[in-house]
């Protein structure tokens, strides 16, 4: 009797040990959106992919740190980031490998590395989402990110605290564009005027859904989720005036990790994930990611950059260099 029990246990232990994967992908894009793409890659190539996903609290940073700490003995072959700045950080640390993929042609230069170390694809735009039924006639949400802190807007809106994820990248980009001191002063004004700094983009979106607030600064994928859940939310692309900077677009990015154990498979994955087919899939998925290439098939409610809105030009290398310092600045200001 006892012996049979141990046999069961041994079988369970053996069952727990799977075979070696053909490709290890560290993936910071939400698992629900990325997993179908990874499965499709497996179907296309017959390769077995082992994916490690990031967790929300440490969004991106967890996997980036893991790559840094595993530098001597890399486990990841490819890093699929849900934003761009931390990928460039890895490149600056010498932890990526160059790969000139034919597939990246057509992607605007702003969103790919000249040396082939990283490539952007399928992006989210930083938008103002609002409920029209919360405004009286003649009123409306701020039309520029810079005007969000003005008293008439600030007390009715929210943004995620820029400590992680796309909001950190966005605000580091603003610091690059406008200078550190000006941005910190801007954040302080927001605090003084009652602008709420929420936990994340989904959180501030939820508050607008529940009519606690009239508007929020968020990502297009969160606004899409709100609409899908039956909330009457409208999206506004900020800073579209002739002299304004344009809307910040933050793409996914992919790079091959230095010392990748499955280099050739990693290249195939980069070819696949930056292809128009995947951009189209990401656009059609729940997150409604915006294709960077012109002419990629996408549902009609997915906006087209340059056509539906004007995209801000950002020096992503500078953003990557400043990212950690600005995070500490923001934490000092906003966390008690």
């Amino acid at each position: 009797m006892l012996r049979r029990r141990w046999l069961w246990a041994a079988a369970a232990v053996l069952g727990a040990c799977g075979r070696e994967p053909d490709l290890v992908v560290y993936c910071a894009l939400d698992r629900d959106y990325s997993e179908p793409i990874l499965e499709r890659f497996e179907q296309h190539t017959g390769l077995r992919v082992q994916a490690q996903f990031d967790v929300e609290q440490s969004k991106t940073v967890g996997l980036v740190n893991r790559i840094i700490q595993e530098a001597a003995r890399p486990r990841a072959d490819v890093f699929w980031n849900n934003e761009i700045a931390h990928t460039i950080r890895l490149k600056n640390l010498g932890l990526t490998e160059a790969y000139a993929s034919d597939m990246t042609r057509g992607i605007p230069e702003q969103f790919r590395d000249a040396g082939g170390h990283w490539t952007g694809f399928g992006a989210r735009a930083r938008v103002i989402a609002y409920r029209a039924d919360r405004f009286a006639p003649g009123e409306g949400p701020p039309r520029s990110v810079l005007r969000m802190v003005e008293p008439e807007h600030a007390r009715r809106g929210a943004m995620a605290a820029p400590l992680t994820g796309t909001t950190l990248t966005h605000f580091t980009a603003l610091a690059v564009l406008r200078g550190r001191e000006a941005l910190l002063e801007w954040l302080r004004r927001g605090l003084d005027n009652g602008l709420q700094y929420g936990g994340g983009n989904a959180d501030v979106m939820r508050r607008v859904n529940e009519k606690d607030l009239a508007w929020c600064l968020t990502d297009t994928d969160d606004a899409a989720a709100a609409r899908r859940n039956g909330h009457p939310v409208t999206v506004l692309f900020p800073d579209q005036g002739p002299d304004e900077m344009g809307t910040v677009l933050i793409p996914n990015s992919v790079c091959i990790v230095k010392g990748a154990r499955h280099r050739s498979h990693a290249e195939r994955f980069v070819d696949f994930v930056t292809s128009p087919e995947v951009e189209s899939l990401l656009a059609a998925g729940g997150a409604q990611q915006i294709p960077l290439r012109p002419g990629v098939a996408a549902p009609p409610d997915v906006p087209v950059p340059g056509q539906d809105f004007h995209v801000a030009t950002i020096d992503w290398n500078a953003v990557a260099l400043q990212l950690e310092e600005r995070r500490r600045d923001f934490e000092e200001l906003l966390v008690r």
């Binding site: 006892l2 246990a9 369970a12 232990v13 069952g15 727990a16 040990c17 799977g18 070696e20 939400d30 698992r31 629900d32 082992q50 994916a51 490690q52 996903f53 967790v55 929300e56 609290q57 440490s58 940073v61 967890g62 740190n65 893991r66 700490q69 595993e70 003995r73 486990r75 929210a158 605290a161 709420q196 700094y197 929420g198 936990g199 994340g200 989904a202 959180d203 979106m205 939820r206 859904n209 969160d222 989720a225 709100a226 609409r227 859940n229 039956g230 909330h231 009457p232 950690e324 906003l334 966390v335 008690r336």
Partner: protein, 525 residues
């Protein structure tokens, strides 16, 4: 006969295996944390005023959570086990269930119910999540009160005096439960993280610092930061164990169970109080989450039922793989505990009180460290060439989960083994049975259900563990992590449905055990 068979009969090879496995599961991952106690850096870190303030905040927030846990748990235990409240058996059955839920699920539900956020909300949710600990220990102590002691009190001073004496007899156990609730609250990362995430006014607790250190420095720094917390909680646990031992005296199971307090005029009042307790601890949160499965905005085109059904089918479709992996991890952790717990439980009972407490503390160390600290320690220790593919394999998470929750299993089993007369084992010894046989066949004897229950509990805790799983690469694809991630994104229906599916999976072993126990009691009658 000599050779392998005689080796198996001897105790020492088994002890070698048990100690090695326990060291690998429990103590090795703590080396980076405990090492910091012996380095100046570890202590200097606390001189940083910000860190010191965080440490103090964690202590008092946890103390408040523990107070709430005791304030709810002790009266609930009293109501369910020692009063004539209608449906007492059902209330007693509900008592452990909130403990099986991830505290994050409770936090999600209460945020949904009341919109609460911030540090006070975290305190309340951790208090509610921890309430079963004092409740269960109090209920256990109340059940062991000798009927005569209760009746003597009734004769001397009436029901009020008898109730006071009843509480006095359970107080050391209740306090130990309070300390455990404190421990769970201080070590928790996910609830303060969630409540801070939601709040306009952000706050930090100590476990955040441990987590954040891994961003700026490396995991070694994070693990080391956990050291002062481990030390404080260890001292507290030792003191409460000491106090319990000193106060409960030569406690033994009562031959005749003490009667329930009869409160004829107040039965409905008692029922209201018990219902309120059950609602606060379990029914309201679960009800809210059920509502969330079909909740939608005003422009939604589907009815609640349709959305809810879709959310459940979505949860099963997308989360099935994670649930299966979590169950595999839980089963393996439980299997490991089946092997380890009896040895340690039996060893505890061989020792004097002081050594017993010290050994228990040694076994409890992984539970005293915040899950994130323990996880980082494990990464520091196991993420090296020496261990090859083990670090990435599906075997590491169950090993660590078993180590982290082993103390609970040992605690439960030791308490049950204490009831087995020593002479049963001695008779087997005289008959020539080896140590292993004596332990597993005669010592465990009629306590086999407790043995399996202890393993099932560890399996359940392994499935619900979030903090450790979010750090450990091999445990990332688990139900708890999927839930954690989905909760922070904006997928309310899915989150709620997946949370409920998880709750059902977690409740199942305990429900089956209760049903089996009920059936056995009926057969015996």
């Amino acid at each position: 006969m000599s050779g392998p068979r005689s080796l198996l009969r001897a105790a020492w090879p088994w002890w070698l295996l048990v100690v090695s496995l326990t060291a690998a599961a429990s103590w090795l991952p703590l080396l980076p944390t405990l090492g910091a106690l012996f380095s100046a850096d570890g202590w200097n870190a606390l001189r940083d005023p910000r860190l010191g303030a965080l440490f103090l905040r964690t202590l008092w927030l946890s103390a408040l959570a523990s107070g709430i846990a005791m304030g709810l748990g002790v009266p609930y235990a009293l109501l369910a086990t020692r009063t004539n409240v209608p449906g007492a058996a059902l209330f007693a059955l509900l008592m452990p269930l909130p403990l099986l839920l991830p505290p994050l699920l409770i936090a999600q539900a209460w945020h949904g119910l009341t919109g609460m956020d911030g540090q006070w909300a975290a305190v309340l949710c951790l208090g509610l999540a921890g309430a079963p600990l004092p409740a269960l220990l109090t209920a256990h102590a109340l059940a062991r009160q000798a009927a005569g002691a209760h009746e003597a009190a009734l004769l001397c001073g009436g029901p009020r005096f008898a109730a006071a004496e009843m509480l006095r007899s359970a107080w050391p156990a209740a306090l130990l439960g309070g300390v455990l609730a404190f421990l769970f609250a201080a070590a928790d990362f996910s609830v303060p993280d969630y409540m801070s995430f939601l709040a306009e006014e952000k706050f930090f607790v100590y476990s955040f610092e441990i987590f954040n250190r891994s961003r700026e420095a490396d995991f070694r720094g994070g693990a080391a930061a956990a050291a002062p917390l481990v030390l404080v909680i260890a001292l507290l646990l030792y003191a409460s164990l000491h106090w319990r031992d000193a106060w409960s005296g030569a406690e033994r199971a009562a031959a005749r169970p003490a009667p329930r307090l009869r409160v004829p005029a107040g039965r409905w009042l008692l029922l209201t109080a018990a219902l309120a307790g059950a609602a606060l601890l379990l029914l309201l949160p679960l009800g809210r989450i059920l509502y969330d499965t079909g909740m939608a905005g005003p422009a939604a085109t589907e009815a609640w039922l349709q959305r809810s059904a879709r959310a459940f089918s979505d949860a099963l479709a997308r989360g099935r793989g994670d649930l299966l992996r979590s169950l595999q991890t839980g089963a393996l952790a439980g299997a490991l505990v089946l092997l380890l717990a009896p040895w340690w439980a039996a060893q505890l009972l061989r020792l004097g009180r002081r050594r017993q407490r010290l050994l228990f503390l040694l076994l409890a160390l992984p539970l005293l460290a915040p899950g994130v600290g323990f996880g980082m320690g494990a990464i520091v220790v196991y993420n090296r060439d020496l261990f090859g593919g083990f670090y990435d394999s599906a075997l590491l998470p169950p090993l660590l989960m078993a180590g982290r929750w082993l103390p609970l299993a040992v605690f439960l089993l030791a308490e049950r083994l204490q009831r087995v007369p020593a002479n049963q084992e001695e008779a087997a010894q005289l008959a020539g049975a080896g140590y292993r046989l004596r332990l597993f066949r005669y010592r465990l004897g009629v306590q086999r259900p407790a043995w399996w229950l202890a393993a099932a509990l560890v399996a359940v805790f392994a499935v619900r563990e979030i903090d450790l799983a979010i750090l450990l690469p091999a445990a990332n694809q688990s139900a708890a992590v999927r839930y954690y991630m989905a909760l922070h994104a904006q997928r309310d229906n899915f989150v709620a449905a997946f949370g409920l599916v998880m709750a059902l999976v977690l409740f199942l072993p305990l429900m089956l055990e209760a049903a089996w126990r009920g059936a056995r009691a009926r057969d015996e009658r």
